[in-house]
């Protein structure tokens, strides 16, 4: 294969915007994921702030009921699918190849495709604010409320299509990381020598591959109901309204672990490094993660304790849900065992990691409370649940992600963040988290349902709601400092050494930032925490003080890396256009008459064509162009 189809030359842009559009370097894709996801996360934060401002006082009318419903739907969908998941993906991308001693992921172009498709799905969702078609059915989209009968317009279609496109992105990324982790580990790195974060990435990717098809099918059915008058969830035609809930939560509960397992992986990296001790009970922690992932499939109906499944089903799901607390508890205790007897350095990443454990325990305890089906009947759909999910997903997942951001920031940028600002950020977050979300336990037990756009004074909810809103502003202030710290340190921060934390895993053995090829020489792994052991060995041999990154870069010109490509971007562009067209494909008026929107149909067809042509071009484009002299043709 010497020519490239469609006569478009291979992109050669070392810098500038096209270098980012065509990059297939896992580290740059990680940066793209991270920056985009943080922008999305902040947009979800703005939505949350609007919700909090509306609920600050009783009987406020700042926001209309309809907009309020859109706000909480968008907030949750954004935070889960555009915030926490892609932030985790940013870490998968940047960290995993470095931790396993690989030069890139298994399928670099597929990796670029995952990112651009994620962006496409994110834009389909977020642009709906500007087209006045933001979804308003909750992130769980219960039928029949999301059916066309009760929800005219295109808000739900936006939600369906964006989740579908995001699902494609997640599936592609998951397959990529499964193959990468299984096949591309450096020689000697057996499964039980893998860093914990890589382990949790593998488990998460497997969960994703198994969970997403369920929601994909459910969403297709819902779309067909809405667009073409099928009756999967149409109660009037005899469908069972509870079917959607089963489909959604069979996906939705594993999804919870998709959000939290990478966070647990990050924390399992940071606690040992800043305690100067190996992870306590490595095998147990790995096993606990796998068991959590497995049992995550047996607990979905605890989201449906009030649906009327009967006492037998509710008892069974009570027990299974309680059982899942055991492996979770094991992890917590092992983290504490890691700190025990250690030499704890309270740098910003460590503070966030410890706070993760602390906050996650609170969320875990309230989680067990919800497992008790009988008393959960008083808590289900109240602010008590809102408190619970924010302790596990904000105090949990987001704290761990922030810990990871600070931890790997010097590796990613080659510069140190400002520690003082990091501490300010941490304390504002820690205080803000508890001031915002702890009072929600009280409002919930005091009978305040969630998803209400206003409440009356005299219900006893005024004070704690005011406190929650105050806490939200503390959190916002923390994030302002965070953004400033990141932006400034990235450009002007102190130079970071290759191994600023006295790290234990392979990513700290290479320079900061890592060269494009990561490792000059693929390491031979002899131990768990190989880099740490290597440092000890060298110390014992009284070699020159260890300088990570080495100075052996002169051989680098021999390393072959996959070359950039336009095609992943254009396949995603096709998906974006087609997705957008499908949102508006069918119109239905109040009288129930459906009409085909020809503009949308043409848009869809154009999008599909772009996609097909690009896939075709992609598949005929070699990963590497043969070099002019062909001297390296048989090199690898």
């Amino acid at each position: 294969m010497t020519t490239i189809p469609l006569a478009i030359p291979r992109p050669v842009h070392p810098t500038g915007i096209w270098s980012w559009v065509t990059t297939i370097d896992h580290k740059r894709i990680g940066v793209l994921y991270g920056v985009t996801a943080f922008i999305m996360f902040f947009s979800g934060g703005i939505e949350a702030m609007l919700i909090r401002v509306q609920l600050m006082r009783p009987e406020q009318t700042l926001i209309t009921p309809e907009i309020f419903n859109q706000l909480f739907t968008m907030h949750a969908t954004t935070m889960i699918f555009l915030g926490v998941m892609p932030l985790s993906a940013a870490f998968f991308n940047f960290v995993v190849p470095l931790q396993i001693g690989a030069r890139d992921v298994a399928f670099p172009r597929l990796n670029a495709f995952s990112y651009w498709t994620f962006l496409a799905g994110a834009l389909i969702l977020k642009l709906s604010w500007f087209t006045h078609a933001a979804p308003n059915g909750g992130w769980f989209g219960y039928s029949p409320l999301t059916g066309i009968t009760y929800n005219l317009g295109h808000g739900i279609d936006v939600w369906i299509l964006s989740l579908q496109v995001l699902g494609v992105a997640s599936l592609a990324a998951s397959f990529n990381f499964i193959v990468t982790i299984v096949n591309m580990r450096a020689p000697g790195m057996g499964l039980m020598r893998m860093p914990l974060f890589t382990w949790m990435t593998l488990v998460t990717a497997i969960l994703l591959v198994l969970a997403f098809p369920v929601i994909t099918v459910a969403l297709i059915e819902l779309y067909f109901d809405r667009a073409f008058g099928m009756n999967f969830f149409n109660v009037a035609a005899g469908a069972n309204a509870v079917l959607w809930q089963h489909l959604f939560w069979v996906f939705g509960h594993p999804e919870v672990y998709i959000l939290i397992l990478p966070a647990m992986g990050i924390v399992s990296e940071i606690l040992p490094v800043f305690s100067r001790k190996p992870l306590f009970g490595y095998a147990t922690v790995v096993l606990a993660g796998v068991i959590i992932a497995f049992m995550g499939w047996m607990v979905w109906s605890h989201h449906m304790f009030t649906v009327g499944l009967g006492p037998v089903a509710n008892s069974v799901f009570t027990v299974t849900t309680m059982m899942i607390a055991v492996p979770t508890g094991i992890k917590v205790f092992n983290w504490m065992g890691t700190m025990w007897g250690g030499s704890i350095s309270l740098k910003t990443p460590m503070l966030f990691a410890i706070a993760f454990v602390s906050m996650f325990v609170i969320g875990g305890i309230s989680g067990v409370m919800h497992a008790v089906a009988a008393s959960d009947a008083q808590q289900q759909d109240t602010y008590f649940i809102v408190a619970h999910i924010h302790y596990v997903l904000f105090g949990g997942a987001i704290f761990a992600i922030l810990a990871g951001v600070y931890y790997w920031f010097p590796k990613l940028t080659g510069r140190m963040y400002d520690e003082k600002m990091g501490l300010w950020h941490f304390w504002l977050m820690f205080i803000g988290q508890n001031v915002t979300f702890f009072p929600m336990h009280f409002t919930g037990l005091n009978g305040m349902p969630r998803r209400i756009y206003a409440y009356y004074s005299g219900m006893g909810w005024d004070f704690w709601n005011l406190v929650s809103t105050l806490g939200a502003f503390i959190l916002a202030a923390g994030f302002v400092i965070f953004i400033y710290n990141m932006a400034r340190s990235w450009r002007n921060g102190e130079q970071a050494s290759a191994d600023p934390w006295d790290g234990r895993t392979l990513e700290w053995s290479i320079p900061s930032p890592p060269p494009e090829y990561n490792f000059v020489e693929i390491p031979h792994v002899q131990d768990r925490d190989d880099w740490w052991e290597e440092k000890q060995r060298r110390r014992e041999r009284r070699e020159v003080p260890v300088v990570a990154g080495g100075s052996e870069q002169e051989d680098a010109h021999d390393i072959h890396l996959p070359q950039p490509s336009y095609w992943p971007f254009f396949v995603s562009l096709g998906l974006f256009i087609a997705g957008f067209g499908l949102v508006y494909l069918m119109n239905m008026d109040a009288a129930g008459v459906r009409t085909l929107n020809y503009v949308a149909l043409i848009t869809t067809v154009i999008g599909v064509c772009i996609g097909i042509v690009s896939v075709y071009a992609w598949s005929f484009e070699p990963v590497n162009d043969p070099e002019p002299g062909g001297e390296h043709a048989a090199h690898h």
Partner: protein, 369 residues
């Protein structure tokens, strides 16, 4: 060193005290929807279970958070020496697998008993009330006191006899709602075409707040209702009165209002019935039944409260609220289906009510007692 530990324990103590105080302040049984003030066996059993697990949870909470603070202070880095590289400890790991398992089994046993107690009615032959969810109000149907083939329809206020089991059948005509009276029983969802049943019992007479707890659309926040628990004799009298039509007033303004109500131009009677008795199982009209509307403690799913400071339905407030509602329902309850989609006076500007029609309609409706 001694001083160091004193500081540590003081810090742990203060944190724990703050947490305990916060929890104490969180329990506010006097509020209308507080789950800390059970007035019936179902809510009571749920509260008891909550206390059991809260205590178990508090033990875990204080142990873990205390241990974390302890670890941070005790093992804070003091020099650059490398600590012992402990890999794990099987006995310990077994202990913290087995410990929580035992604790959870202890919680699971009373849980399962309570689940069955609460979900299986102790008296199948007790009074059965049908509760039907509508976007965004509650309809209640009682068996007719004399004729078992008929039902009596009411809305917004659920009257129940005190100290008796009441079986509740939960249904919905549109989307999924949830029936929740925190002081009497935890929620059970109202799923269209998939009726659920539950049982409730109020220990003593009282006035309780209920609210839909499953997100059900734009006015989910204002899908509220009240429960009035009254002694059996009082309840019987109330139900008998409901089964009768309202006393017809001879006031000319009322007569005029009745005409507006039934006129095709206003179209009120297309959706609102003024007879409370219907055959069993026959669907009601789209809007709330208005037979005895002026006796209700609230309108528009709890947006407008008709009670005075003594808690009694007050005629003047009823009239004021009816006027507010009929004049501009959209501003009282934005997005309500009557004003948004159905009722001619609001959907069609040409058919808007005149001031005279409005006054007559208010007079007529406030006569329906």
């Amino acid at each position: 060193m001694v001083k160091h530990y004193r500081r540590l324990w003081r810090l742990i103590g203060l944190t724990m005290l703050a947490a305990a105080l916060a929890m104490l302040f969180g329990c506010t049984p006097n509020d209308p929807q507080s789950t800390f003030d059970a007035h019936g066996p179902v809510a009571q059993s749920q509260l008891n279970l909550f206390w059991v697990i809260l205590i178990a949870g508090a033990v875990v909470f204080f142990a873990v958070q205390g241990a974390i603070i302890y670890l941070i202070i005790k093992f804070r880095r003091r020099d650059e020496s490398i600590p012992k590289q402990t890999e794990g400890n099987h006995a310990l790991e077994f202990a913290w697998t087995a410990g929580p398992t035992v604790l959870l089994i202890l919680v699971a046993i009373p849980t399962i008993f309570t689940i069955f107690d609460n979900e299986v009615s102790p008296d199948k032959n007790a009074l059965t009330v049908e509760v039907i969810g509508h976007q965004w109000w509650f309809e209640f149907r009682y068996p007719h006191p004399d004729d078992p083939t008929k039902e009596v329809i009411f809305a917004n206020d659920l009257h129940i006899p005190t100290d008796e089991v009441v079986n509740v059948v939960l249904e919905s005509v549109d989307v999924i709602h949830s029936f929740w009276v925190p002081k009497i029983a935890g929620k059970v969802d109202m799923v269209p075409r998939n009726a659920n049943t539950m049982w409730i019992k109020a220990d003593r007479p009282g006035f309780y707040y209920g609210q839909c707890a499953e997100f059900c659309g734009v006015q989910h926040a204002n899908m509220r209702f009240r429960v009035i628990a009254q002694p059996r004799a009082e309840f019987n009298a109330w139900l008998r009165a409901q089964a009768e039509p309202a006393i017809e007033s001879q006031d000319p303004l009322v007569a005029q209002g009745r005409k507006v109500f039934t006129s095709p131009d206003a179209g009120c009677s297309g959706c609102h019935a003024t007879g409370s008795v219907t055959n069993k199982g026959v669907a009601g009209r789209v809007g709330p039944n208005l037979t005895h509307v002026a006796t209700r403690t609230n309108f528009a799913g709890g947006v407008l409260d008709n009670r005075d400071e003594n808690g009694l339905v007050n005629d003047a407030i009823v009239q004021r609220n009816l006027r507010m509602w009929i004049e501009d329902p959209e501003s009282v309850k934005p997005g309500n289906i009557m004003a948004r989609d159905i009722a001619a006076p609001y959907v069609d500007p040409d058919r808007a009510l005149t001031e005279a029609e409005l006054s007559a309609l208010v007079a007529y409706l406030s006569s329906l007692k």
